[in-house]
Amino acid sequence: MGKTLFDKVWDAHVVDTVKNGPQVLYIDKHLIHEVTSPQAFNELEERKIPVARPDKIVATADHNTPTINQHLPIKDKLSRLQLEQLTKNCKKNNITLYGLGHENNGIVHVIAPELGITQPGMTMVCGDSHTSTHGAFGTIAFGIGTSQVAQVFASQCLLIEKPKSLRVNVNGKLKKGVLPKDVILYIIAKLGTNSGTGYFCEYAGNVFEEMSMEGRMTVCNMSIEMGARGGMIAPDETTFKYVKGKEFASKGDEFDKKVAYWKTLPTDDGAVFDKEYSFDAADIEPMLTYGTNPGMGIKITEKIPLNTDDSFQKSLAYMNFKAGETLIGKSINYVFLGSCTNSRIEDFRIAANYVKGKQKATNVHAWLVPGSQRVAKQIQEEGLDTIFTQAGFKLREPGCSACLAMNDDKIPEGEYCVSTSNRNFEGRQGQGARTILASPLMAVATAVHGKIIDITKH
C-alpha cells in the first residue's frame, strides 16, 4: 500500500512508540512568541531543566505588539513586561529573537517561510494554532499548548498520538474573483468546524497545484478552523523555487540533495486516507461568514440560511443578522487586511491592484497591517504604498493586530468588520465586535464602497 505525504514525514520523525499510547516525535523547528512561551520557560527553570536545542528555536514578538509607533516604548505595562520577559528568556537560553523593530520581525507564520526557516519534510511546532500555515510546504506543522512548548524545550520532542488522515480534493477552474481564502472558507462552510478534528488534512487537486506559495499558506493556515491539527500540500517546483535562495535555505549541492529528497514526499498512488472529500472548483464563489464560527459561511450570492438550533440562533443574534438576509449592501465601517492568513505580499498586491485609482469610502476605518517588516519593505519597493496613500489608505506596522485584538487594534462594540483574518468568534476582534471573514479582494472592495458588494459584478 502506498504512503501518504503525511505518513512519510511523520514516520521519518518517530523516535519511539509507547505501547498502546502516543509516539515520541522529533521536532525540527520550534517557533515561539511572547504570549504562549513565558510559562514554559518558568516551568523549566523551576525544574532546573535546560533548553535542549536552542539552535532549533526561533522567536518573534507579534501577538501583543502595537502596529503604530513601534519605535516608542510600549504604553501598556503588561504588554511591555511580556515582551521584556521574552527578550530575557531568549537571551538567557541562547535563542535567536527577532524582536520588535528587527528587520526579520513579523507574524511568526509569515517570517518563518519568508526567511526559508520553513522547508518541506520538516516537523514544526509553535504555541499557536495557525502553525498549520507551514504545511503549505509539505511540512508537518501544528499548534501546541504551553505544556507542550515546555516539553519541546526540554527534549526537542513531543509526546503525541498520530492523527488520522484526511484528503480534500478541489479540481477544476476557479471563477474570476475567487481567491485561495474563498477556497478554504468554502471547504470549511461545506465540512463544518469540527469535521477535521483528530485528522491531518492534505489538500490535493489542480486548484492547489496552481496556487502560489502565498495562496497555499492561506489555505493551510485555516485547517484548524475545521478542527484539523494541520494541513499539507505536496511540495513541487513552486515550493522549491520559493525556498531556493532564502536566507536559511541550503545552498548549491546541499540544496539539490534536499530537493531530490523533497521530490519523494508526495502521496503515492494508491495511498488510502481515513476520510476523503472532493469539490468542484467551479462551484466556489467569493465567500463571507455571517455567524460566530468560520463554518458559518455563504457564497456572496447566497442568503443566510434558516436553522432553529439554539447555538445558531445565539450566533445570529450576536451578529444582528436574520435568516434569509443577503449580506450584499450591508454598510460596513471597519475593514482589516492582515493576520497570518492574509498579510503577505501577494495579498497587498491584490489589494493595491483593486484600489488603484479609487478612493476609500469616508465611513470606513481601514487597517492595513503587513505580516512582517520584509512585507512592509516590499510594499514600499513595489510602490504599492503610494497607491494605498493616493486611495486614502494608511499602512500600519507589522503584527497580529486586530486578528485577536490583544493590542489596541480593537473593533468597537456593535460594529461590523470585514476582515481577512481567520476567526469570527464572539468578541474576537474586540468586545461586542462583529467579524465577517472574507478574502483580501472582498475586504478592500468593502473599504472602497463602504458596504459589501458582489465583487463578481465589478
Binding site: 523516535v15 519511539d16 498502546n20 499510547g21 502516543p22 515520541v24 522529533y26 504570549v35 504562549t36 513565558p38 510559562q39 518558568n42 516551568e43 525544574r47 531543566i49 501577538h63 501583543n64 503588561l78 504588554s79 513586561l81 511580556q82 520577559q85 504555541g127 499557536d128 494554532s129 499548534g143 501546541i144 499548548g145 504551553t146 505544556s147 507542550q148 516539553q151 526540554a154 527534549s155 520532542c157 509526546l159 492523527p163 468546524t193 469540527n194 478534528t197 483528530g198 484548524i224 478542527g227 491539527r229 464560527n293 438550533d309 439554539d310 447555538s311 445565539k314 485577536l404 485584538a405 490583544m406 462594540e413 476567526r423 468568534f425 464572539e426 468578541g427 474576537r428 468586545q431 461586542g432
Partner: protein
C-alpha cells in the same frame, strides 16, 4: 500536576455548542507571564455585562448551579491553542468537563493540567443536560480508574488513552517521560 482518581460532585450545565477558547478566556487577558489568576476571567464576557455588572442570565452566576463538573455543548474548546483556557477553567475550580466532542489542542492542554475532558454520546449529553437543569442537586460520579461515569440518567463508560490515564492517576507529566527517553533522542539526532 495533581492526581485525579475519583470525583463525586454536582455539575453546571452550559449547552452552547462550539464554545471556543476566546470565550473561555478572551485574548485581552493573555498578558500574564505566569499561570495565576486566569480563573477570575474565565468566560469573562458571558459572566459580566458590558458595563461591568454581573450577567445574572449566565449559568455561572446562577446560585442554583454549583460544582466542579462543567457539562458543555458539542465541540468544546475549539479555536486557539492557548493553554490559558485550561488554566482558567482549573483556576475557577473545574476538575472535569463533559461534552460530546472536544477540540484536539484543548483536550491535550486539559489533560496536561489535570483537567479531565470526558467525552459522551450526544444522546447521553442531551439527557444529562436536561437532568441537571431540572434537578441541579443531582450528583455525578466520575471514576477514572474504572473509566466510568455514574449519573441519575444512566451509567456510561468513557475512553481515555492508557498512557494519559497513568499520568492523570499518578500526577505524572510528559516532561518526566520525555527526559527518560534522552538517550533514544540523542541517538535519533546523531543519525539525522
Amino acid at each position: 500536576m495533581e492526581k485525579f482518581i475519583q470525583l463525586t460532585d454536582t455539575a453546571i450545565p452550559l449547552p452552547t455548542e462550539n464554545i471556543d477558547t476566546d470565550q473561555i478566556i478572551p485574548a485581552r487577558f493573555l498578558k500574564a507571564t505566569d499561570k495565576k489568576g486566569f480563573g477570575d476571567n474565565v468566560f469573562r464576557d458571558w459572566r459580566y455585562l458590558k458595563n461591568g455588572s454581573v450577567n445574572t442570565n449566565f449559568v455561572l452566576n446562577n446560585t442554583e448551579f454549583k460544582g466542579s463538573i462543567l457539562v458543555a455543548g458539542n465541540n468544546f474548546g475549539c479555536g486557539s491553542s492557548r493553554e490559558h483556557a485550561a488554566w482558567a477553567l482549573v483556576g475557577y475550580g473545574f476538575k472535569v468537563i463533559i461534552s460530546s466532542f472536544f477540540a484536539d489542542i484543548f483536550k491535550g492542554n486539559a489533560l496536561n493540567n489535570g483537567l479531565l475532558p470526558l467525552q459522551v454520546s450526544s444522546e447521553f449529553l442531551k439527557k444529562l443536560l436536561q437532568e441537571i437543569q431540572e434537578n441541579p442537586s443531582t450528583k455525578i460520579i466520575v471514576d477514572l480508574e474504572k473509566q466510568s461515569l455514574k449519573t441519575s440518567v444512566g451509567n456510561v463508560t468513557f475512553d481515555i488513552d492508557t498512557y494519559k490515564k497513568v499520568c492523570m492517576t499518578n500526577g505524572y507529566d510528559d516532561i518526566d517521560f520525555l527526559i527518560s527517553k534522552k538517550e533514544k533522542i540523542a541517538a535519533f539526532e546523531a543519525a539525522l
